[in-house]
């Protein structure tokens, strides 16, 4: 059995080798591209001599195909030399094949066919065919060989090996399995977080240096903002769904004579637009498939591959270092590196920085709500109210005390510039304290009122807070406060977010914090066990609203404007969505959910009206398939303190290290 597998594998390596050579020859020796003046050039010449690439040729080809071919070549050689490495390698070889096929679909099929420079495209076409055939061969071959490997070793009976995967859905399941195996063989979880973070730093630096060039080569108009996620859905921005049901629900201004027919017309038009959006429509508006490929390529080349390489390289040194550092020093080091990565990434433009700031604010909001909803098991639905209190109090303080503006007149205190950050911090803390006091409005009723009744109390508090602000003319009422200094920057947000995460983490893991969880599990039992439930509730609500208030203060100082309408039920709903998306009782879940939610909101912007159809759909599907949220009641286990490598003596400490990571 095994021998068969080995033999088929070395055959596979040989074919892989052949494919790779064919592709490389195709790229470097054949005249691929027709230039303006009728001359021809190979792809290699185009790259090396930096000739002007004809506008309509997709430049991806010049990067991906040689790269894939080179990797394939290396793999084939390596596997010929060391056949026992087969799993990871054959999977990688397969991935290369997939990329080649994907490339074929992405760029050749959807390239503009009506084109002034058809001749050049024609040249390219033959090359694509070569790439396609090579890729297909690779896939079939690897599939055969993997299937052969998987035939159960059944001693005695000569099993009839079924070389091909059975059924048409097999390839995907099988692909997933192979990828998972390949990933497992890399032992990614043993790599310390520090190494990943350093990888991210390297990737960010790479993007700052080469991002622009690569983006232009790939046909982006600019460096993709948030890993290409904002570019991804742009092709769908023109879709108009409104005609489908409008004929059945006419407004007084509309007149539809034949609702069914006009609805069908709209549906047909939409279908056409949809296909159009998937495929290319000119160089300025590339189709979805094309954008998807370019985004994947960009992220692979700039982020994923460099991060993985650096992380794999730094795995051993990282583990070594972390094991020898005190825990706090290791954590501090990782936080510093994280800040470095985040700030370098955000420094590229204001939009990225703004998104990062929103992320931080959302993280604070989500973890503070999680303390009440997840850890204590209450159902607070009016969290934005506390945010409003914090936002207003801190804005009033900074405007009144430190800056000259129109609402409160000149600054009360004349502080030197270097002391302003201290003033800002004091204002933020004051906002938090005020919010914590507002939290008492919920905390006291919670002694007697529970469950859904308490939910109404929180909701009422939300309405009351915004209602009161609307009525105070001195702070602008519904017009809001304008002229809040723009003081929130990434440094502040990062610092306060990290502190909040740390504070909540310490709180829920302390003895006192166990009381919070005890209340969730059974309040009466907790009281019997000696938990002072009133005190615990007071502290939990106040800490939660304190952090929400601080996040509100940061939020106000980045909008440079506050308005009671900002902190309505919708904001509370967003906080709820983040908490339950990430999972109750999980800090890491809330953090990840807040980050994902923020990116999702930005990425879905091109969908306009559809955005708030897709977001709830995702929420519903997630809840149906993972009712506990992404990480309900558990934390993501990260290798923060280093693990011992094989060969080193295994000590008991390792077990506890793995469990304690957060």
């Amino acid at each position: 059995m095994i021998r068969t597998a080995n033999r088929s594998f070395s055959l596979g390596s040989l074919v892989t080798l052949a494919c790779a050579l064919v592709i490389l020859i195709a790229v470097f020796a054949l005249p691929w591209l027709a230039l303006e003046d009728g001359a021809t050039a190979t792809a290699y010449e185009l790259l090396s001599k930096s000739l002007d690439v004809p506008a309509r040729i997709t430049n991806t080809f010049l990067i991906i195909v040689p790269l894939a071919a080179l990797v394939e070549l290396a793999l084939a050689l390596w596997s010929l030399a060391a056949p026992q490495q087969r799993k990871a390698i054959s999977t990688l070889a397969l991935l290369m094949g997939v990329i080649l096929v994907g490339y074929y679909y992405g760029t050749f099929l959807y390239e503009d066919h009506v084109n002034a420079r058809t001749a050049a495209t024609d040249y390219v076409r033959s090359g694509f065919v070569v790439a396609l055939i090579a890729g297909l061969l690779l896939i079939v071959l690897t599939a055969l060989q993997r299937a052969a490997l998987r035939v159960p070793a059944n001693p005695g009976t000569e099993a009839v090996a079924l070389p091909l995967p059975r059924g048409w859905r097999m390839p995907f399941a099988w692909l997933r399995r192979s990828v998972r195996e390949a990933i497992r063989s890399l032992q990614l979880s043993r790599i310390p977080v520090l190494a990943y973070l350093l990888g991210v730093v390297a990737a960010v630096e790479l993007e700052r240096r080469e991002g622009e060039t690569l983006a232009r080569l790939l046909g982006f108009r600019r460096v993709p903002g948030l890993f290409g996620s904002t570019e991804l859905l742009e092709p769908f921005s023109k879709l108009d769904f409104s005609g489908i049901l409008a004929p059945f629900f006419p407004s007084p201004t509309d007149r539809f004579d034949a609702p069914l027919r006009s609805s069908w017309e709209a549906l047909r038009q939409l279908g056409e637009d949809f296909v159009y959006a998937l495929t290319s429509h000119g160089p300025r508006e590339p189709g979805f498939f094309k954008v998807l490929l370019h985004v994947v390529e960009y992220d692979l080349l700039i982020f994923i591959i460099p991060v993985l390489i650096v992380a794999l390289l730094l795995r051993r040194p990282g583990n070594w270092l972390l094991l020898r550092l005190p825990t706090w020093a290791g954590l501090a080091l990782q936080i510093v590196v994280l800040y470095g990565a985040v700030s370098r990434w955000g420094a590229l433009n204001d939009y990225r920085e703004l998104v990062l700031i929103y992320m931080g604010v959302n993280i604070m909001l989500a973890i503070s709500l999680n303390l009440v909803n997840g850890y204590m098991g209450e159902f607070s639905v009016g969290h934005a109210g506390f945010m409003a209190v914090g936002a207003y109090i801190s804005s009033i303080l900074t405007m009144w005390l430190f800056v000259d503006e129109a609402v409160f007149g000149e600054a009360m205190l004349s502080v030197p510039d270097w002391a302003l950050p201290i003033g800002f911090l004091i204002a933020l803390v004051a906002g938090g304290v005020a919010a914590a006091l507002a939290g008492l409005l919920v905390a006291f009723p919670s002694f007697r009122t529970r469950g859904d009744y308490l939910a109404i109390v929180t909701l009422a508090v939300n309405f009351i807070v915004t209602g009161i602000i609307n009525n105070i003319e001195a702070i602008g009422g519904p017009r809001g406060l304008n002229g809040v200094p723009l003081w929130t920057n990434l440094r502040w947000v990062f610092l306060l977010t990290a502190l909040s995460v740390f504070a909540i983490h310490s709180l829920v893991n302390s003895t006192f914090g166990k009381g919070i969880v005890a209340i969730r599990e059974d309040e009466i039992a907790a009281e019997l066990m000696g938990v002072n439930t009133r005190k615990v509730k007071l502290v939990a609500f106040m800490v939660s609203s304190f952090i929400a208030g601080m996040s509100g203060g940061l939020f106000a100082h980045v909008l440079a404007y506050v308005n009671p309408g900002v902190f309505g039920i919708l904001k509370s709903t967003e906080a709820l969505v983040m908490v339950y998306l990430g999972g109750m009782g999980s800090i890491s879940g809330s953090v990840i959910a807040a980050v994902l939610f923020t990116i999702l909101i930005e990425a879905f912007r091109p969908l306009a009206v559809l955005k708030w159809v897709v977001v709830p759909l995702i929420l519903i599907l997630l809840m149906l398939f993972r009712p506990q949220g992404l990480f309900g009641f558990r934390e993501v286990s990260l290798n923060l303190r280093g693990v011992r490598e094989e060969g080193e003596a295994v000590v008991l400490k390792e077990a506890s290290d793995g469990a304690a990571a957060d």
Binding site: P252, T279, D350, L354, R479, G483, Y561, L570, E602, K611
Partner: protein, 394 residues
Amino acid sequence: MSKRFMSLGLILVVVAATLGSLPVAAQEDCDFVGEVVIGVIGPLTGDIPKVGQSTVEAAQMAVDEVNAECGLQIDGENYEVVIVVEDDESKAESAVAVATRLIVEENVVAIIGPQASKQAVPAGQVANDRETPMISPWSTNPATTKDRPWVFRAAFLDPFQGPVVAGFAAKEFGAKTAAVLYDVASDYPKGLAENFRDAALASGIDIVAFESFTTGDTDFSSQLTNIIAAKPDVLFTPQYYNEVPLIVQQARELGFQNPIVGSDSWGTPDLIDLCGDACNGLFFSTHYAPDIATEVGQKFIAAYEERYGFKPDDVAALTYDAFQLLFTAIESANSLERADIRDALASIELFEGVTGQMSFDEQGDPIKCAVIIQIKDGAFTYYDSACPAGFPPE
């Protein structure tokens, strides 16, 4: 979801994609040498989606019209106008995010929008800080443009409109007492209500009831009963067209027979359809009257109705004007530099728009006339007009 469905989906997508190789759009005759990218921000979702819809429709029309005439001419070359539309979701934070994105990522030369003050005030800060011209077509909060040289608007301000309506009420109905019903949580109605109150008191009209409600309310019976008990000669309600029918109908049902007057937020043809006979005979102040509109206005109304099948509202008219202002500024600046465009915008004199003649004052607010419209036989009809002192210059 079973893997079977996932695979099926993938295959369907691939098949659909393979089938869909479509011809590209027809080439224009104009030889465009470049693009002028303009950002548009509107509330496509959230409280007032209709405003967002009008914004996009008017913007698309303005751009298609200018591109049909070979775009904008700069140094004798044709530049194609391209708009990037963003949704502010009726949220301040989204307005800040999309304004930043438009400026730093899309690299727009100028921004048209956001419409509501709640979003226009913070977005104006972003535009001003990053030195990008911005025109908010519809925002009436003074803070939007105040001390922000880069921010302009197309609508007139509450301190002008309040006295116009108060003066009209005194002149037309000989009103001695008036009542106001407004939304306390929305800054346009609140600002206008207060300006009307001050102007009315100054001109000798007594405000006998000053009642409020909250955004999203539909039942005004309590406030209206209070108002009726106070027996005002006239009721002023500066509300949006989707609230006015409710207010008017409920007032009539509760037995209020005196005139009801409104402001420019009434100026949407939907109002007539939603309100039916109840609104006949009522008056409001606004930017232009469709029946005596200028040539520009008539052309706009006809083209809009031809294209979308219904008459434009005030948002559409103001957005269209904002675009025309910007186009004029870009061509007269003869440059795509943001600073040049700003200077050209600030120096525009007596611009002839759909909503009438206008110039900008030093704050970037327009100086223009208001007209009084009467709703008569299901149409907006010109009744009177009022202009700021010394405008237009003879």
